[in-house]
Symmetry: C2
Subunit: 482 residues, 2 copies
């Protein structure tokens, strides 16, 4: 790329000091008819442009206002002001685009503070705010760290299908995909919908997970990961659910449950450390914002750690590994449970854990990320490996402070007969998954994997609290604008 970004100019300013350079960007502010804060999206930092208005046409000066876009030629000089190393003394300013002031004033680009809700309604413009610039640069860094980690560790990226004929896992929560004219759906002779006439010749849905297909790939390539969109047609209007979100699912041949937990811990620490190393400016901004947010809360609801501090602590500590059975003991004996402070009281071994229980373990009891493993088989999916006790499966969940479950995974059931029995018990159609069963027939191997929702991780890293604010264009019930 021939053009220099503002990030490059600020970082390597010694290379351009006292030279004339050309810069491009949008006006964030124009102070005293003299100082333009110019931003091009490459960094949260603005480049200061100094304008001597006597050298420029009044018309140009009049068009320099928040949101206008400029091309500026000028000399790089050491800055007199605080907070910046260099500034540009403008020699030439070209207005690339005005800001249509009147219309702008109805948008979030007007220079004042806007609520996150209002920003969400203008998701196409919120990229130009400091907050969402930071969030989406961090989201990029998280994504790139994911690919880097897996590539470094000899995983292969696999694109599992988005449109799928299989609905073994997510029946009822899946979106249908069709090419039918809904006003004129073809029927068979006995009046059923004739899916044989649909585009794929069968009923198809949007995937809820690439795991089962991913397992088949791991049975040939060894180590694979998926990273793609997944879908839930769940009518949940919460700050934690999206109908369309991005999921990362590694799957590793020859790994057992312990290897899987090691992988999850290494992976999370790598990604978070990468963000700490590569997103300093954005994290500092988000850290300050997080601190301000805490001040608006009641003392008891405030986070114990700052954002950056929290990330550093997660990387530094070994995650606490606790069996489900131990966790139930801890919860049963907790003051909270005995005093009836949980909304869902913990009564006995076998109950599924609620978010409040997970957060108690992480935030109060252990004060550390926690990995729970060996869950009761009844509350976990059919493909998880049955343990020797015949009661539990080799499942694992990684629980994070403030977020709860961030990763869920397991060693898979590699024994064909046990898998078939579990499918029968749990009413999963064997015939539909003939190809999945094949992987247990021809050189079946122990293997394990997990799933991580990208947006949950970005929430954790940015300190944002609504999942709609960490994906560019959220898809939620009754909302698919853009």
């Amino acid at each position: 790329m021939k053009k220099q970004t503002i990030k490059e100019i600020l970082q390597d300013y010694k290379k351009v000091l006292h030279h004339d350079i050309t810069v491009y960007g949008w006006v964030r502010t124009f102070r005293a008819n003299r100082f333009i804060a110019l931003n091009d999206g490459s960094t949260i930092n603005n480049l200061q442009i100094v304008v001597d208005f006597e050298n420029f046409d009044e018309e140009i000066i009049s068009k320099i206002s928040t949101a206008a876009s400029l091309k500026v030629v000028g000399e790089v000089v050491e800055s007199q002001g605080a907070g910046q190393s260099v500034e540009i003394v403008a020699k030439k300013i070209i207005i690339l685009g005005d800001n249509f002031t009147e219309e702008r004033d109805k948008t979030i680009l007007q220079p004042k503070k806007h609520s996150l809700e209002v920003l969400r309604d203008q998701a196409h413009l919120r990229f130009r705010t400091n907050l969402f610039g930071a969030v989406f640069r961090v989201r990029h860094a998280v994504s790139f760290a994911v690919h880097s980690f897996f590539n470094k560790n000899q995983f292969f990226y696999i694109n599992t299908p988005v449109i799928t004929g299989a609905d073994a896992e997510g029946a009822g929560e899946m979106f249908g995909v069709t090419n039918f004219d809904l006003n004129n759906i073809p029927r068979t002779e006995d009046g059923e919908i004739d899916f044989a006439q649909d585009f794929f010749g069968r009923k198809t849905n949007l995937t809820v997970s690439g795991q089962l297909e991913g397992e088949t790939a791991a049975m040939g390539l060894g180590r694979i990961y998926t990273f793609g969109p997944t879908f839930r047609a769940e009518n949940s209007n919460t700050t934690r659910h999206l109908a369309e979100f991005w999921m990362i699912e590694p799957e590793v041949a020859f790994n057992n449950l312990e290897d899987n937990i090691d992988l999850a811990e290494d992976f999370l620490k790598y990604v978070i450390q990468y963000v700490l190393d590569n997103c300093k400016d954005d994290l500092e901004f988000l850290d300050k914002r997080f601190e301000e947010e805490q001040k608006t809360k009641a003392e008891k609801d405030r986070a114990k750690e700052g954002l950056i501090e929290k990330l550093q602590n997660v990387v530094a500590k070994r995650f606490k590994r606790v069996s489900y059975t131990e966790a139930i003991e801890i919860l049963l004996n907790s003051k909270e449970n005995k005093k009836g402070k949980f909304q869902y009281p913990v009564e006995s071994w076998g109950t599924d854990l609620q978010s409040e229980h997970e957060r108690y373990l992480v935030e109060k009891h252990f004060e550390s990320p926690v990995v729970l493993f060996d869950y009761p088989k009844e509350i976990k999916a059919f493909y998880m490996k049955l343990n020797e006790d015949n009661k539990t499966v080799a499942a694992m969940d990684v629980l994070f402070p403030g977020i709860g479950e961030i990763i869920g995974g397991s060693e898979r059931e590699a024994r064909l007969d046990v898998l078939k029995q579990k499918m029968a018990d749990m009413h999963v159609d064997e015939h539909e998954l003939w190809w999945y069963l094949d992987t247990r027939k021809f050189g079946s191997v122990p293997h394990a994997g997990f799933g991580l929702g990208l947006e949950r991780l970005v929430l954790f890293v940015t300190g944002m609290t609504n999942i709609r604010d960490v994906i560019p264009f959220p898809r939620t019930p009754k909302s698919a604008e853009f």
Copy 2:
């Protein structure tokens, strides 16, 4: 990762020479009851395990056959045979999974040559063949190179929505997404389908491109790229079309058409060079296969270059840049056209180019990748920048030998009034794209971008000829198995 892959063992064999190590993998062949070729998917190369059958139970020996999976403990020794640096003298062999021999013999895992069609029907098993192992490792390398290139150049990865309410671009070719019970679709009082009652409260489709949303992100973040699935409900049963494929779409604020062409050329060369550098073994295998394929063809249809040679040449040469107008002149004056050898004769300026014309330019006339630019406005999309001649738009297509168009892009129309006029002329609904028009209102800037279908590029790099063989689970008319 604690376990060593076969790739690591073969690469860094000096570290483990004369040590006992543990390896895992699938049996590719078992020769003379003595030599196991073991593969774990990490590389196309097998690790030779030497078995002295006198040291092992007959039962174990009897279970070692193609497709079975093993755990082997043994000493690493220098290999006596050709083609490998080291081999393992087995001390302990554990059969992880038998191969269910009888059923195996109905699958592609039986040890004989299978057609690509048959392999496609068992897409869940083809990862275990040399060919598809190589293809999908290369696909991974291409994907990783894409992310690396953009990250290095300060682009941010943006996930544009898969489910979209906008259908401005792809009307008619889009898949519908619905949560309706198709047997019971709600209707409004006047008998219309009541999409207000569907999950998103409106009619929704699967995206055909993330470009328009990507442009809004570039208008804040500067340089962005998408890399995600896109969809076409086109009933094309060809070797070049998929209903679901992965697209890469960078978009750059402040770039003009020339910058865009530079970016496309740099990008393609980076990715191809990365594969040359990082996939040597797989490319050599694919190169040989390509050569064999050529021998089955008539002399005149054979490729002039070998696969690796072709990739090296693309990286070495500067792409030829030719305007559409020049290209038409060349075609009009070509022997082929004059002698009526084109299926679609070129008659005048303004006609759209067919694949045969593109390939003539690339393979016969220039013998080089070609970038065509400045196309007649009538044959290109509404969002492309109108040139000063009022006749052409600032579009560009990159044409590659054997493939034709591999990249299509343009500088975008940044002027609100011109864009609105073009939308009106081309019957694109302005109201539906209110958010897209907003980007031209508030600090509009010149910008440009392009789209590249990942599978087209993987075809080019691997020398495969059917697009269904470079994506794990192809989605095509009447086919959505797995």
